[in-house]
Symmetry: none
Subunit: 284 residues, 2 copies
């Protein structure tokens, strides 16, 4: 009985499931013995109801499979399968809403669809940026950050690789690192000397590479070379399937947002800055 009240708080999020709970509670007294057993089991073990087969649920609830089906029918469903969908909706609702769902939520708030005025464009990019920052905060682990900082902190010289759309991130990172007194080489490919710029990198140095879809060809080419030369690499990219993942010591994954008008560099910039500033902590 308590159970029903306490979960009420979340009722709005998974409506159908909560409605089912209420219905089961309401009908409980009218049920036959066996149905009562099943009703209690269902309220206590919603996850089992969602994922188990009829036979499994029956065994756990210590009843016959047919009783489970009768239970579903008693609640007005065509069969167990239909009832199970409701329990599954609870799982789906509880899982961390993906980028897609969050954006969908945002769109409902603002008038995102009609990106007709400059102001709306700004609003859209600002919102996307906010979401991406939130996701960044949640998605980056203390462990990865620590390892990245350790690698860069131990480096004699830090090589920064970020071309094309990622170049602003690279320049910003370079700027901050230099402000903090680090030796930094920005691999900017100036004079088509990208390879030569990276020639002096050794295993005592470190590489931090930034690249997103569609990955810059020069980045794609140079990164494996440096990895092959045993230069420890920290990577900021958009997918574990990125060409920069193989051989990297640490990978920060910043997934792209679906339906984004244009990739926002807000999160990568923020992460880069955090890594750089994080370097100062180890030296206190």
């Amino acid at each position: 009985m308590n159970r029903i009240q306490t979960t009420r708080v979340e009722a709005r999020q998974h409506e159908p499931y909560e409605a089912l709970r209420a219905e089961i509670a309401r009908q409980h007294s009218r049920f036959s013995d066996r149905l009562k057993v099943i009703a209690e089991f269902a309220l206590d073990h919603p996850t089992d109801m969602a994922l188990g087969t009829v036979a499994e649920v029956a065994q756990r609830a210590k009843v016959q499979p047919s009783a489970i089906v009768r239970f579903a029918r008693a609640l007005g469903y065509a069969g167990f399968t239909e009832l199970q969908q409701v329990f599954r909706s609870r799982l789906v609702a509880s899982v961390a809403p993906s980028y897609k769902e969050r954006i969908a939520g945002l769109r409902r708030d603002g008038d995102f669809r009609n990106t007709k005025t400059p102001r709306a464009v700004l609003a859209r990019f600002a919102s996307e940026g906010t979401v991406s920052l939130e996701m960044l905060q949640e998605g980056v682990s203390e462990k990865d950050l620590g390892r990245a900082i350790a690698i860069l902190g131990a480096a004699h010289t830090i090589y920064v690789l970020g071309l094309g759309g990622s170049f602003p991130v690279a320049t910003h990172l370079t700027y901050v690192l230099r402000k903090l007194g680090r030796r930094v080489v920005l691999l900017d490919g100036l004079g088509s000397a990208l390879g030569e710029q990276a020639n002096s990198a050794t295993p005592q140095d470190a590489l931090i590479a930034i690249s997103f879809k569609s990955y810059n060809p020069d980045t794609k080419r140079l990164f494996p070379e440096l990895v092959a030369r045993k230069v420890p690499a920290v990577v900021i990219t958009d997918s574990l399937l990125s060409p920069l993942v193989e051989g990297a010591k640490v990978v920060f994954e910043i997934p792209d947002m679906p339906e984004a008008a244009l990739r926002t560099m807000v999160a990568p910039m923020c992460l880069a800055q955090s890594i750089a500033v994080g370097l100062t902590l180890t030296h206190d």
Copy 2:
């Protein structure tokens, strides 16, 4: 809100699913075409993988059911059913919004003040970024945006001036503008030729200049020159007392945040991007 954050964190700690993600990423390059498609689908739609039947998943991923099974076997599982258990474990792990998580969430929020761990640094910068994006949205007027876009839209060539800490914003703006097919000159001072780079600017062109405290000396010198030559100027800076204000046609003021550890370029980046994309609207 708490729930979302904590489940994300837990998901990362939750071994089997994350291990599977890593394994899929590791093997991705070795997979055949069809298997690659499925691998990407699996990473993108874990919930579908958890709850769907082979036929459903196959349909959604636009492959044959048999390919799904082959995918599971390629990863070392006996079949799809076994693979699916791993995806289901993610759902199970994400449910259970117990008091445990709330405590974890609260502690993170409490950690906010003392910026001692890399994670706290990230949290701080991300929060600052979020705030600055909100303020940007509120502080920028439709009118200024429209005027800035009109000026840049009418320009034959757009000159972008942003040095020092603002250089990343300048490179990003340049990148986006060029993607959109604009003629852009990035005044980067390469080879100490800043003045020469700007020589060709005329009143038919436009200048967009970005600079923040402490204002870059070269920017401070060059900007008035261009204004004197009647090049219409749009400015992004931090104060109306900035050296870039005099002579500017439009000024976007993005004040520095009090107690900011380091100026975040998040808002300027976002504004720059919005202006650039806003240019496309007038041409529809």
